[in-house]
């Protein structure tokens, strides 16, 4: 803004030492954005897994004798299909079970004679539609070889891990924001030292602290905005690239935690956040320093 704008800009256009500040802020915002995006995407991934698994149960019929296994499977299916809250229950084909085991057993021929359990895939109308313990008891009575797995043990381990990762990412975001604030404080102090004589002249001409600090606020807000734009653009490019590569991999545990491009519109707000943080930091730093002067 010119000298005739709302802010009385008495500082020269750009001091050499301040030239790097927007780039440093940009790097910080880049790291911050990646950490934020990963944390939020992980949260969404956990939600998706939980939603998928909490309405799904698996019943295994582990009986060696084939005839008894077929009988218990039939009894279990009858019980499950008659239970309110269960929308479907069907036996997984042996070929599908072999495919599930192929990462551990390799390509096993269909007629290899392996003692495979019968798997019944059960879908619930809602996560709380069935009382699991009651169902377990009724299943045990109807088909003693049946084992009900509601995936809770596995899910709770994954959720604990995901929460720990989210906590680490939140810590990274906080550290990056605090580092940015520290960098701005150092930059401001250097700026105050550089322009000390000009500030003294302004004071002697009757300028109030608010008037002087406004010139710094404006300058640092511009640095924050510029740095924020650089950082967010770099981060957006990186996330787009990761998404593209993840798309090539297909769906799975890892790809579920990759940020979705469609949900990244909030990134546009980060440069404004960066501008606000740098402006507030500059204002507090400069006002405190000015208050020490006569």
């Amino acid at each position: 803004m010119s000298m005739w704008g709302r802010t009385l800009q008495f500082l020269p256009k750009q001091h050499q030492r301040e030239g790097l500040l927007p780039w440093v802020i940009g790097v910080m915002l880049f790291l911050c954005t990646l950490a934020l995006a990963s944390g939020l995407a992980l949260g969404k991934g956990i939600e998706r897994w939980s939603a998928g698994l909490s309405t799904n149960l698996t019943v295994q019929i582990v009986v060696e004798d084939e005839a008894r296994r077929a009988k218990q499977t039939e009894d279990a299916l009858t019980l499950l299909r008659a239970t309110p809250g269960i929308t479907s229950a069907y036996v997984q084909a042996e070929a599908d079970v072999l495919e599930l085991l192929s990462p551990w057993l390799g390509d096993v021929p269909f007629d290899a004679g392996l003692p495979l359990p019968t798997l019944i895939d059960v879908s619930l109308s809602s996560p709380d539609a069935v009382h699991i313990d009651g169902l377990k008891e009724r299943l045990a009575a109807a088909a003693p070889g049946a084992q009900l797995d509601d995936h809770q043990e596995w899910m709770s381990q994954v959720l604990h891990l995901a929460s720990a990762v989210q906590l680490v990412l939140a810590g990274i975001v906080v550290m990056v924001v605090l580092s940015t604030v520290a960098i701005v404080i150092f930059g401001c102090r250097a700026g105050l030292a550089t322009h000390r004589e000009s500030i003294e002249i302004m004071h002697l001409m009757g300028a109030e602290d608010a008037m002087i600090s406004k010139a710094f606020d404006e300058r640092y807000m511009a640095h924050g905005l510029k740095g924020g734009l650089v950082g967010v653009l770099l981060a957006a490019g990186t996330l787009y690239l990761i998404n593209y590569l993840a798309g090539e991999m297909g769906q799975g545990l890892i790809t579920a935690t990759i940020p979705d491009n469609a949900n990244l519109s909030w990134l546009a707000l980060l440069p404004l956040f960066s501008a606000l943080i740098t402006m507030i930091t500059a204002r507090i730093t400069v006002r405190r320093a000015l208050a020490q002067m006569m």
Binding site: M3, W4, L8, F10, P12, K13, E197, S198, E200, I201, M202, H203, L204, M205, G206, A207, E208, M211, A291, M294
Partner: protein, 228 residues
């Protein structure tokens, strides 16, 4: 208008650079401040243009006690004081016009009003052709005239000049003193610190003479050049 009573000043834990300094400046008076280097002239001037508070003593500015004046009241008080420095202290990235306009801008004057006053004043100091020049392209005398114009644009009650002729040739010194005397005749209380004895004698104004922190009052003599 301004009174110093038994004012003492020391920086940190050092020795006193001013000791029991007492004097008063009446409205519209003209004083020279003289003394050898290290006598405390700059410190006394800093007290006069409110860059420091004294370590002890009483200073009354326009009816208010400086020792008890809250910091928030200083800007308003400073707007009544114009300061001219030996090294000009102009903003190098601003034109002569913008430098002179600053005090008015600080007071929130309107753009048109600022333009009128600044142009008029720059013409008065003989810089009508150099209004939009940056300080780097001005001579020492021109810079000092810009600095004087900046100091008086607000029509201050008190004008303080620290060695205003120190960086200019004798002819320019004489012309600058013409400006100070003319301003004083319009009612501005003026204090000029100088080493130039010829200049002091040419005006014949009362002298505040500092020596190792002690102040001596010397009454005004007969001006050598009353027209100055």
């Amino acid at each position: 208008m301004i009174t110093f009573e038994n004012v003492g000043m020391r920086y940190g834990m050092g020795a006193e650079v001013l000791r029991d300094v007492s004097f008063s400046l009446d409205r519209g008076s003209f004083h020279f401040l003289v003394g050898p280097s290290g006598a405390g002239k700059t410190t006394l001037l800093k007290l006069l243009y409110l860059a420091h508070r004294p370590s002890r003593g009483l200073i009354n500015f326009f009816g208010r006690d400086l020792m008890t004046m809250e910091r928030e009241a200083l800007p308003r008080m400073r707007r009544r004081i114009g300061v001219v420095f030996q090294d000009f202290r102009l903003f190098e990235h601003m034109s002569a016009f913008e430098n002179v306009a600053l005090p008015l801008r600080i007071q929130g004057a309107k753009k048109a009003q600022v333009a009128d006053h600044v142009e008029e004043l720059l013409c008065w100091v003989g810089l009508e052709d150099r209004m939009h020049a940056r300080p780097a392209t001005l001579s020492g005398g021109e810079k000092q005239r810009v600095a004087i114009a900046r100091a008086i644009i607000n029509k201050p009650d008190l004008l303080v000049a620290d060695e205003p002729t120190g960086n200019v040739d004798p002819e320019m010194s004489r012309r600058l003193m013409h400006l100070f005397v003319a301003l004083n005749k319009e009612g501005t209380t003026t204090v000029v610190a100088t080493h130039d004895e010829g200049l002091v004698q040419s005006i014949g104004a009362p002298i505040l003479k500092l020596s190792k922190g002690d102040l001596e009052h010397v009454p005004g003599g007969t001006p050598i050049d009353p027209g100055a």
